[in-house]
């Protein structure tokens, strides 16, 4: 029974009270009531979401744009899968690069077998693609032919008509010249002729557009064949790269080669015919040793994957958020304590708070950028490259700019809420402090801050939310590897999967934002002493 209440309390604190009835049901508490609650607050929302998905799938294919198809849920899932696949492949490549000995040979054999298999598959699919291309062409031709011939006929006809009109106007011009007709008649004729030409062109355009439309119509079997070839060819290419990484590009292989070469140089001492050759050989030996050393510590440089992006984004937002906290809370306390300070800060806050993160990013690139004339040797980055997990993220100036931008935008809610929390200190608590004769520091730590904590944390939660939103924009602009850059790059790729990837990123960003918010809620609940809780 103890456990049950712990779980319930946990759900409550973390803002997942909606699952309360599930736990109660599991413990057999008033099953009917729980089932009703589950039905209302879990099953109905789930059905609603499913309906939304279904609606998306129904509407998406109907909405055509020139920039591409609006993705349905299946395409978004596919995009998620592909991103995962890319990440997995990069992981495998990294491992392959480092494989050595029997392990390498065994893997190599496996990979070679896979390649043989894949080659056959790809050839088969390519043949299929050829057939489909032919099929597409013939069906397209069949569709185009009637329109095309209509178009050609019409065009010829109009050309004739236009020539006739030209001849007519020429004739009329002669008559005008001979003063047989009024010039106004010629003008009228020309006007009419122009209108006619315009109308004819419009008519032709309609047919032309029809042709274009037919040409851009998708032919499902061809699309399918193409995507099949693409995915298998990608897989084949990956396997071939693996093969290379297990042979010529493998670290242990390269090291072995270098060691052999070193042996060769060492042997050349024996056969050296002059002093200078001995010297050269010795120099060569020294260099070779250095190069072996370097090879031995080499690591594969994998492409950035969605998982790295996620880690970097989360890290950046946390760093930015902490910066905001470190700056915002003390300033907020000062504002709350001192009316003059508050009066000084108010205009600054009022002016800077509404500024867009994009502007801040550019400003930070200039201001903060000046601190890193040479990022490779800057102590900050050197230090970051020595921290276990952080080093895998690759801390760079772009990340610092993004974090600063996050901090700048996330600062205000923390600051304002802290100031409010400090200001709205209960007068009774002030009296307690006076009666107890607490000094300034004790008042601050024992009365003011604890009493302001619920409001401070409410501010922090807003800060975190703002920070996460800002980060995505900042990353897109600063091209700091992260989810923002992922979205931006995808947009720039302009491939058939672009929209699906952006939608996928949308979900990833949303879910991470949700998790961050939940964490903040839990923290807020933990420090809130009045049990009022936080709104969800």
């Amino acid at each position: 029974m103890e456990l049950k209440y712990k779980i319930l309390k946990g759900l409550d604190v973390s803002g997942f009270a909606v699952f309360d009835p599930v736990v109660r049901l599991a413990y057999g508490e008033e099953p009917q009531k729980q089932i009703r609650a589950i039905g209302k607050f879990i099953i109905v929302p789930v059905i609603f979401i499913l309906v939304c998905f279904a609606l998306t799938d129904w509407i998406a294919p109907k909405h055509k744009t020139k920039s591409g198809q609006v993705p349905d849920t299946a395409t978004i899932r596919k995009s998620a899968k592909i991103n995962h696949l890319i990440a997995k492949r990069e992981g495998i490549k990294t491992v392959d690069f480092l494989r050595e000995g029997a392990d390498r040979e065994k893997t190599l054999l496996e990979v070679q077998a896979l390649i043989a298999e894949k080659v056959a598959i790809v050839d088969e699919l390519k043949a299929e693609l050829k057939i489909q291309e032919e099929a597409y062409k013939s069906q397209l031709d069949a569709k185009l032919k009637p329109i095309q011939s209509k178009y050609d006929a019409l065009k010829a006809k109009y050309k004739e008509a236009s020539n006739a009109r030209k001849a007519q106007s020429k004739a009329l011009a002669t008559q005008v010249y001979n003063k047989q007709v009024e010039p106004s008649e010629l003008v009228a004729l020309l006007k009419e002729s122009d209108a006619q030409t315009e109308a004819e062109r419009a008519e032709l355009d309609i047919l032309k557009n029809q042709l274009d439309e037919k040409r851009s119509e998708k032919y499902e079997p061809l699309e399918l064949a193409r995507s099949n070839v693409d995915s298998e060819a990608d897989a084949l290419m990956f396997l071939k790269t693996r093969e290379q990484l297990l042979t010529s590009r493998n670290r242990s292989v390269k090291v072995a080669e270098a060691v052999e070469k070193k042996q060769g140089i060492a042997d050349s001492f024996e056969t050296a015919t002059s002093e200078s050759k001995v010297l050269n050989a010795a120099k060569g030996l020294v260099r070779q040793e250095l190069s072996i050393e370097r090879l031995e510590s080499q690591k594969y440089a994998p492409a950035a994957t969605i998982y790295l992006y996620i880690q970097r984004s989360v890290f950046t937002v946390i760093v930015g958020f902490l910066l905001a906290v470190i700056i915002g809370i003390p300033l907020g306390i000062l504002c709350g304590l001192n009316k003059v300070f508050m009066a000084c800060m108010t205009p600054i806050i009022a002016i800077f708070k509404p500024v867009s993160p994009v502007v801040w990013l550019l400003i930070f690139q200039i201001i903060v950028g000046a601190f890193f004339p040479n990022p490779d040797t800057h102590p900050l980055f050197v230090a970051a490259s020595n921290i276990p997990w952080v080093q895998t993220l690759g801390v760079n100036p772009a990340m610092v700019f993004s974090a600063c931008t996050v901090a700048m935008c996330a600062l205000w809610p923390s600051l304002v809420n802290t100031a409010l929390g400090v200001c709205s200190l209960d007068p009774d608590h002030v009296n307690v402090a006076r009666v107890l004769r607490l000094n300034f520091w004790e008042r601050l730590t024992k009365i003011i801050i604890p009493s302001a904590l619920p409001l401070i944390f409410a501010g922090l939660r807003i800060s975190m939310g703002v920070g996460w939103m800002v980060l995505i924009a900042a990353e897109a602009l600063s091209s700091s590897d992260g989810l923002g850059k992922f979205v931006w790059d995808e947009y720039q790729n302009g491939s058939s999967l672009t929209f699906a990837n952006i939608m996928f990123a949308c979900f990833v960003i949303g879910i991470i934002g949700f998790i961050l918010d939940r964490v903040m809620i839990v923290l807020q609940r933990i420090v809130s002493f009045d049990d009022s809780g936080a709104s969800v």
Partner: protein
């Protein structure tokens, strides 16, 4: 490894020594075929999502960098400005750059920094695309264009009435290019000016280049070109691939001319590094150039029938989302030697992208001089310069000596045939200058000789003259 650390060596002397390798067919014995003693072995290179970043991507994916003992991260950059800034701040070790970028940066147009290049990534590869409505008007103006396969090259003559029509309305036709010092900017200006359209001048006050413009050219990052065209903010653009083919695929515009038709085999992108980086990491630089040369050669490899054999694989790699990321089929067109001008107009363009053949990757001084003349022509260089200034500036930026040394090592390692390296005699006055480009290679029929920049400049009807 040899002399490279002691760069104090008079460069002329060194070049003459290198020249012996090719000029006299003798091997320099001190060059040994071991991995270079690189100063820095994990590098970051930036690129913009364009197919002409291929040599960098290929050198990584095919392991050419690794063979030089380098682990390289290749990172997409959002725009040319940031790419350059990242190279200057040291965030990137080197990058895929517009040919004009090292020059612009070095002479201080835009961000000032000394950037150098020892490798030209590719030739050609750009096209000018106009929106469907502009194309229809052009067709109306010139009925010869109103066929599924109009005759090329298409000049801007048919565009003149469209521009005039806009001017009559008190507006200006707006077109996009990717960067003030990009080849695209000069190419689209060249194309417009060849038909007598004034594309506008830069002045010391007007850094947008709108002064006197009949057509306003504004900067848009390449990947955003199609979207910007579609949204109607611009009526046309000049950009690299795949963004012209993308317009065709999406049916939002029509490429009218490739830069191959504007200037046959014009230099397009370079591999740029900061001078500081090059000085601090001479061996690394050499190793990088070696890997790039091999990648370029791999990209241009042909079989007996002259078909490019590795391009499809390259396209497969480039279409990965972390590189160019566009669909395989879209990139494939231009990279495998085809170009769609319309959905119905697919043409063979085997030299749309040249990465290596005909000494394409060599950093010619004359290429640098051409860009300098264009900067002067359009007012990015505000004052008159002497011919010597052009030559000296080009020599500050282009480093053929690094290319030659890398090539020499590759020849020795058996990766390169001596014939694939251009002859270079440092004792000759015009070493590193291409022979004069004949008038027929330019859309306006004006010949270019890098040895006479001022003469070339004065030959143009529209543009600053000295």
């Amino acid at each position: 490894m040899k002399v490279y650390n002691t760069r104090k060596l008079n460069s002329a002397r060194k070049l003459s020594k290198l020249n012996l390798v090719f000029g006299l067919g003798m091997m320099v014995s001190t060059v040994s075929a071991e991995t270079l003693d690189v100063e820095k072995d994990s590098l970051k290179f930036g690129f913009i999502k364009l197919t002409d970043c291929a040599p960098i991507v290929i050198a990584k994916e095919k392991g050419f960098f690794e063979e030089e003992g380098l682990q390289v991260e290749v990172i997409a950059q959002p725009n040319w400005k940031q790419l350059l800034d990242n190279v200057i701040t040291g965030e990137l070790d080197g990058a895929h750059m517009l040919s004009g970028q090292p020059i612009g940066a070095t002479i201080g147009f835009g961000t000032q920094a000394h950037i150098v290049t020892a490798y030209t990534l590719d030739l050609n590869g750009n096209a000018i695309t106009v929106s469907n409505s502009v194309w229809e008007k052009m067709q109306a103006n010139d009925p010869a264009l109103d066929t599924p396969n109009p005759k090329h090259p298409i000049t801007a003559d048919a565009l003149v009435p469209v521009v005039q029509e806009k001017l009559d309305l008190g507006e200006k036709l707006k077109m996009g290019m990717v960067f003030p010092v990009s080849t695209h900017n000069y190419e689209i200006r060249y194309w417009l000016a060849a038909s007598g359209i004034n594309p506008g001048f830069y002045t010391s006050e007007d850094q947008k280049g709108f002064t006197g413009a009949q057509v306003e050219l504004s900067v848009t990052p390449p990947p955003q070109m199609p979207a910007t065209l579609e949204s109607g903010n611009i009526s046309g653009y000049c950009v690299g691939e795949p963004w012209n083919q993308q317009a065709v695929a999406k049916g939002i515009g029509v490429p009218v001319v490739t830069n191959y038709d504007i200037w046959k085999n014009n230099p397009e992108k370079v591999f740029g590094v900061s001078k500081k980086w090059a000085d601090e990491n001479p061996n690394t630089h050499l190793a990088v150039v070696k890997a790039l040369i091999r990648a370029g050669k791999w990209l241009d490899e042909v079989d007996a029938s002259g078909t490019l054999i590795n391009r499809e694989e390259a396209v497969r790699i480039l279409s990965q989302p972390n590189y160019v990321g566009a669909d395989f089929d879209v990139i494939k067109n231009s990279m495998t030697g085809y170009f769609f001008f319309q959905k119905t107009d697919k043409r063979l363009m085997p030299e749309f992208n040249v990465f290596f053949k005909n000494h394409a990757s060599f950093p010619w001084y004359s290429d640098g001089v051409w860009f300098l003349t264009q900067m002067r022509r359009w007012g990015q260089i505000t004052e008159t310069k002497s011919a010597d200034w052009y030559h000296e500036t080009a020599k500050e930026i282009y480093l053929p000596e690094v290319y030659l040394e890398a090539a020499a090592l590759l020849v020795e390692e058996g990766h390169l045939d001596p014939s694939e390296v251009p002859a270079f005699d440092a004792n000759q006055k015009w070493a590193g200058y291409k022979p004069a480009t004949p008038a027929s290679d330019f859309i306006d029929g004006i010949a270019y000789d890098g040895r006479d920049p001022v003469g070339y400049l004065n030959a143009h009807k529209i543009g600053n003259k000295d």
